[in-house]
């Protein structure tokens, strides 16, 4: 349940209306904030996937496939 909620929250965070019309601040002096947000979002997705495979890995499927 917690994993589904985290995935749903991340899905909702994709719709970042708060940076919709803003280019500034420019991160590192050249990266518009909207682009930086989505790059950081991509890294956050990787973190979520790491948590999913650590805590909710369907290991039973590996054994089931050998039956």
């Amino acid at each position: 349940m917690a994993a589904a909620l985290m995935a749903a929250a991340l899905y909702a965070l994709h719709q970042d209306f708060w940076f919709w019309r803003e280019a500034r601040p420019l991160v590192f002096g050249f990266l518009p904030i909207g682009l930086f947000y989505h790059a950081a979002y991509t890294l956050a997705v990787s973190l979520l996937m790491w948590l999913l495979v650590r805590r909710h890995w369907p290991a039973h499927l590996e054994h089931a496939s050998d039956e």
Partner: protein, 540 residues
Amino acid sequence: MIPAAVVCLYLLVVLAIGLFARRASARQPDAEDFFLAGRSLGPAVFLLSLFGANMTAFSILGASGHAFANGIVTYGLMASSSALIIPLSLFVVGTRLWALGKRHGFMTPVQMFRDRWECGHIGTVIFAVQAILLVPYIVIAVIGGGTTLRAVSGGLVPFWLGGAVVSTVVMSYVLFGGMRGTAWVNAFQTVLFLSFGATAVAVIAAGMGGFRQAIESMLASAATAPLLTRERVSPLYFLSYTFIPLSSIAFPHIGIFCLTARRLEHFRRTVVLYPICMIAIWLPSVFLGVIANRALEVPAISAKVEARATLASQGPTLTPERRDALRATASGDDVILALVQGYAPLWLAALLGAAVMAAVMASDSQILALSTMFTEDVVAFYLGAARARDALLVHTGRLFVAGVTAVAYAIALVVPQSIFDIATQYAFAGYSSLAPLLVAALFWKGSTRWGALAVAVWTAVAVLAIAVLQSVVPAPPPGAAVSVLTFGGVEVVTRAAAGTMVLGFLPVVPMTLISALLMVVVSRWTPASRPGAATLARYF
């Protein structure tokens, strides 16, 4: 000529990889060895080849071209949404597909559907819908190969010859190497993609004297400042794009790739590293596409910016022919090529040429998937287990690879690319609309074969309807919209420059939601068709 020579070298390398894969296979490979590499791919090749199979020509050329015209929104539309949905679908659906495939010997999703819903001909309908949606990608790749070889050779290699060379190379390594050859070539191509992005950014930044000044001047101009925000797209349009990556797991070549891993463990690294690969390729591509708007000292880019300005200021008053000509000039698909030619040394231009070839040759896994589907879902199914011997299936698969490549090449020579551009645009929506099939098969005991048939038929009808609508109602100028269907004063269907819209959403949203609804409603109407207890016990 150096880029052309590097591209030729690249073609020779992938051909050699295919031949090497042939030697690494069994002397007389069985169907599982040829079509699924014997379910033996290791973790690195599995990650790189799965990622490479998902990346089409769009990832480098199309992404930067889209960003050139639309700005930073491209990354949110296509990269970050895919970075979430694709690994998640691999984690939830791909792992189960792998386990069922290994346990019951399935080699295609349709084999699983037939077994799961105890059906025969309905599986053939699903196969037909999947196959028809896949063909345009193969033709587009042939066209892309011909165009790219003509471009990098400075016109010395004509389109027909370039297309023939690329088709022959792809056909050869798929035909000889099967899935093993295809996976190894895809892995090699992904490494090429990954190495290109950061290098290109560094070299072009040096050539432009850094990016700060270029970004500040874009912000100072009313014409380019909106490219650094998302103010030109609506939140509904943006949300619609999160439905498109659902297509990934429903693409037969991705579903089949899920069956090639040696162990379930190999999915672990793939789902964690997939978003990292996305950022490594898409962030440079999008950023370079955006920044190209300030590379006005490059003549090719300057001409594009001028054409776009003319379209914006005089668009409605121009003749359709003049508008089409300006649109073609303003198109950003080759903007990254122009940037590299303008700022980068020759060796990087050559590397880009090879990366572009890698992108346009991503049809290999689709050709092999089509061959696997035809052989397993049609030939083996209708011949029956007793007559469908492994040697016959492998020969049939190889013949099909040669045949489908030849047909795709012939079509590419006579049919305009614009038709296939539209077809591929809506094939994504079609595959998203097929995704409920997989979810229902794997997670809902109550789903029935009639629900599956309803999903397949709905998908085919919806894609066809959109294709007809797009061809009957021409695209209006940017910013305008033509009302196609109004109900109770509400514009339900509109035709905009970006395509067809339904209540402000892209068609993929209603298509997928209606597809899921049909699966539920029709399955509940047909409870007598639920599979027997023995079948359900194999899945739940």
